[in-house]
């Protein structure tokens, strides 16, 4: 069941340039959350800012009842969050949204992430590993200075490819170009399944490439959110069948092929 809970901060540390990872004591959330879901976080106790802020679940430690979020400080809400320290408590609503389907009939996951879209990937990888599945992560950032949480991405059954727009590390270009370059290796019928997390323009560029891959793709979207639970109808996205779906409740994970980016 979804609930609004007050969670003690265990600790918080910088994880990269302007990026923080916060660890929260949240046993129920940690137990129930699935990768791709998010929490809706109250960053102020007054009205400034008024709305909660959505963050993907970065990782969970079920045994210890710990939930991790990784986020970039960009405005008032994330600045207030970055100011929280051990001993403070934070009001979370969650777990929210439809998770990635990791149980499907595939044995190799291709994960394409852009920028902060990497945030839910460690949790996704943990789940894939538990299912005995292998994964290849393609992560695109502007520059290698933006890296964080790389350790969480590496692992026995995971390969990682980096794309930087400035060429400071790995492939020089966008992550969708990198995917295009490697696409031949990921062929349909060999048990692949695709996962994409990143900004809308990345997903839009990826859509035809993903269609050409021949295997199914799940994509996680972001939209400005008020309620976060499907009530206000404020965060809708257009589907190929012309209908609107809410990102917060019908998503944030959708079948990439069904999204209509031309709206």
């Amino acid at each position: 069941m979804i609930s609004s809970v007050s969670c003690p901060v265990i600790d918080q540390a910088p994880a990269g340039p302007g990026i923080f990872t916060i660890r929260l004591k949240a046993p129920v959330l940690a137990a129930e959350a699935k990768p791709g879901q998010f929490v809706h976080v109250r960053t102020a106790d007054g009205i400034d800012p008024l709305w909660r802020r959505p963050f993907s679940i970065h990782r969970v430690d079920r045994r210890r009842g710990i939930l991790l979020l990784s986020y970039r400080r960009i405005g008032r809400g994330t600045s207030l969050l970055a100011g929280r320290t051990a001993g403070d408590t934070i009001d979370l609503l969650g777990p929210l949204g439809k998770p990635f389907d990791t149980a499907g009939r595939f044995d190799k996951a291709i994960i394409v992430a852009g920028g902060l879209g990497i945030a839910p990937v460690p949790f996704l990888l943990d789940a894939l590993r538990k299912e005995g599945k292998r994964a290849v992560v393609l992560w695109g950032v502007r520059s290698k200075a933006e890296f964080f949480c790389l350790e969480a991405l590496r692992g026995r059954k995971t390969a990682i490819h980096i794309a930087t727009e400035d060429g400071s590390e790995g492939f020089h270009g966008r992550v969708t170009d990198l995917f295009g370059r490697l696409a031949a290796e990921f062929t349909a019928g060999s048990g692949f399944s695709g996962f994409a997390c990143g900004p809308m323009p990345m997903l839009k560029t990826l859509q035809p490439l993903a269609a050409a891959s021949g295997f199914p793709w799940q994509a996680s979207l972001e939209e400005r959110m008020a309620c976060g639970v499907g009530v206000c109808q404020g965060c809708v996205v257009r589907m190929k069948n012309r209908q609107y779906r809410t990102v917060c409740a019908d998503g944030p994970v959708f079948d990439l092929a069904e999204l209509d980016f031309n709206d």
């Binding site: 979804i2 008024l50 400005r224 639970v229 404020g234 996205v237 609107y244």
Partner: protein, 303 residues
């Protein structure tokens, strides 16, 4: 123990806290978060004859102490509302108010008669903030005659209580309130959102696709209190106060200004179970003040 029950147009509510249209879905979305039967009632998202997909995106923006929405009348239409949404409310011990709208007075009447025919529906709330297609697109609720026309049509379509929901975007709200009263409204609810706009200075685009939108949240509370106070002096009908209620204290402010009940809206997005806390706060306050019935607070400003 204070008696928290109130009557709005003959309709007994167990307490004066309801949820506002468009901020509580069709009544069940928040069912997982708390026991909805603890509330006085719920007002549904506006329902129209045909399903509507609502406005283009983006539809939401945050503003200082408030928010803009331009959801439009996104809804499943009266047909699917009755067959798919209403049944889920059967077991709930709370009042169900269906908020209705249409392009013409006839459409208002038709959706009303279909909704009100259902035994689970306790009252109709009329959203007059819709563009009046016959009169140049200004909202029905900005014109006394158009408000009266819609009110009379809805009135004729049901014997259940009719609540007319007023827009604040007018020069003199008491004139509209009197028109609704004369045309047969049983109660008034106020306020709907305030017209507003916000611009992204990086993209130079309005933050809302439709440009102007509806402002709600704590920022508008003083505006709403003033309107309730003004309308209280102008009509005899019971009032439901709406606008920026975030804490129980705000609800008490509305009662003292002259509202018999209140609706919470934007609050839900911050605290899903906020309305229950509002009920509890009103109870505590009333008991501390030695108030036997919460109705004693209605319009009870001291001299």
């Amino acid at each position: 123990m204070t008696d928290l029950s109130v009557r709005i147009a003959g309709l007994a509510l167990k307490n004066p806290v309801l949820t506002a249209s468009g901020t509580f879905g069709y009544g069940t979305e928040y069912a997982g978060y708390f026991d909805i039967s603890l509330l006085g009632g719920i007002a549904t998202k506006t329902v129209t004859l045909e399903p509507r997909e609502g406005n283009p995106m983006p539809r939401l923006a945050e503003t200082p102490g408030g928010m803009l929405n331009s959801i439009g009348l996104a809804n499943v239409g009266i047909e699917r509302f009755l067959s798919e949404k209403l049944p889920a409310l059967e077991g709930l011990d709370t009042r169900v108010i269906v908020n209705v709208a249409g392009n013409t007075a006839e459409e208002y009447a038709e959706v009303t008669s279909r909704a009100a025919a259902h035994p689970r529906v306790d009252a109709i709330e009329v959203n007059v903030s819709c563009p009046n297609v016959r009169h140049g697109g200004l909202a029905f609720g900005t014109n006394p005659a158009a408000t009266a026309e819609v009110t009379a049509a809805v009135r004729a379509a049901t014997s259940k209580p009719v609540i007319v929901k007023l827009t604040p975007n007018v020069t003199d709200i008491t004139e509209i309130a009197r028109a609704a009263e004369a045309a047969g409204a049983d109660a008034l609810s106020l306020i709907n959102t305030v017209l507003g706009m916000a611009i992204d200075i990086e993209t130079r685009r309005p933050l809302i696709a439709r440009r102007t939108a509806g402002l709600s949240g704590p920022a508008i509370k003083p505006i709403a209190i003033a309107k309730v106070y003004q309308v209280r002096q102008a009509v005899k009908l019971p009032l439901i106060g709406i606008g920026g209620i975030m804490r129980w204290q705000d609800a008490v402010e509305f009662l003292l200004a002259g509202a018999t009940a209140v609706q919470t809206g934007t609050l839900h997005f911050v605290e899903p179970d906020g309305p229950v806390r509002v009920v509890e706060g009103i109870r505590r306050y009333s008991e501390e003040k030695g108030v036997a019935s919460v109705t004693e607070l209605v319009g009870a400003l001291s001299e």
